[in-house]
Symmetry: C2
Subunit: 155 residues, 2 copies
């Protein structure tokens, strides 16, 4: 069941992100900062929404997304992680569908996922299977040899 994340979900979300193995140290720190804003200010004022796929007591995956500043109708997909033990069960796809549905309801014309060419392969595969296309790239963005790939899904 996909639900809004609440305060007690943090240890599990942090664990899911770490287990995904896709996020670097700075991205893990940034995730913590984003979570704090979400909990302190709420989704609307922080601009960040967290959803979890709840199964019994535990979350099997989470997604974090929100509207882009200065653009009209653009949402960013910031983080997506699925428990490695729950892969290939459609968890990621359900989270993505739920986030896209909420974003569209909020007026999104497109969803954008910024992705590292070396680190985010599982999330990128899922996005591409779900209709995202690499529309732009900046070579050596994250570091030399690690490009920024900008995936876009238009609604």
């Amino acid at each position: 069941m996909i639900v809004d994340a609440t305060e007690t979900d943090w240890p599990r979300i942090e664990q899911l992100a770490a287990d995904a193995g896709s996020f670097g140290e700075q991205e893990m720190e940034a995730l913590g900062a984003v979570w704090e804003e979400y909990i302190l200010l709420g989704a609307e004022d922080s601009g960040y929404e967290f959803l979890v796929d709840q199964e019994g007591d535990s979350a099997r995956g989470f997604i974090c997304y929100g509207p882009r500043d200065l653009a009209d109708g653009v949402h960013d997909l910031y983080y997506l992680a699925v428990d490695p033990a729950a892969r290939r069960q459609g968890v990621g796809r359900r989270l993505l569908n739920a986030a896209e549905a909420e974003a569209r309801e909020a007026g999104a014309r497109m969803m954008i996922a910024e992705s590292s060419s070396t680190r985010h392969a599982p999330g990128r595969s899922l996005c591409q299977a779900s209709g995202y296309e690499i529309e732009a790239a900046i070579k050596d963005f994250y570091s030399v040899g690690d490009d920024l790939l900008i995936l876009v899904k238009r609604f």
Copy 2:
């Protein structure tokens, strides 16, 4: 003379940005928020640096830039504005050169300017004359018919 902006420069900076005619309402609001962080936290902790081209008592132009989160050696050029009465005197170019020199000293491998295809033509022309190239674009990003153009200068 290019110097770090100080607290009393704000009314002039706001005026320069408004007079440039390139920035929308949301961008002007964001500029105010960025300025507050710069003044409250300083350049290093806020991640924003403001330089002004000082001529006598008044600034003829300003530039705002800073390091991009989660990337190693990437600086963003956020705002650049020159007094319309002081155009074609090299003010913009000097500000850009000074920002690039400081960014390179801080380890920047590239400078990135995100630009609207409909609103930021003067700044974009200046950047392109200064070695920036449009390396990526996202159609209809700001709004339908208003694309995101990502200009990059590599050092």
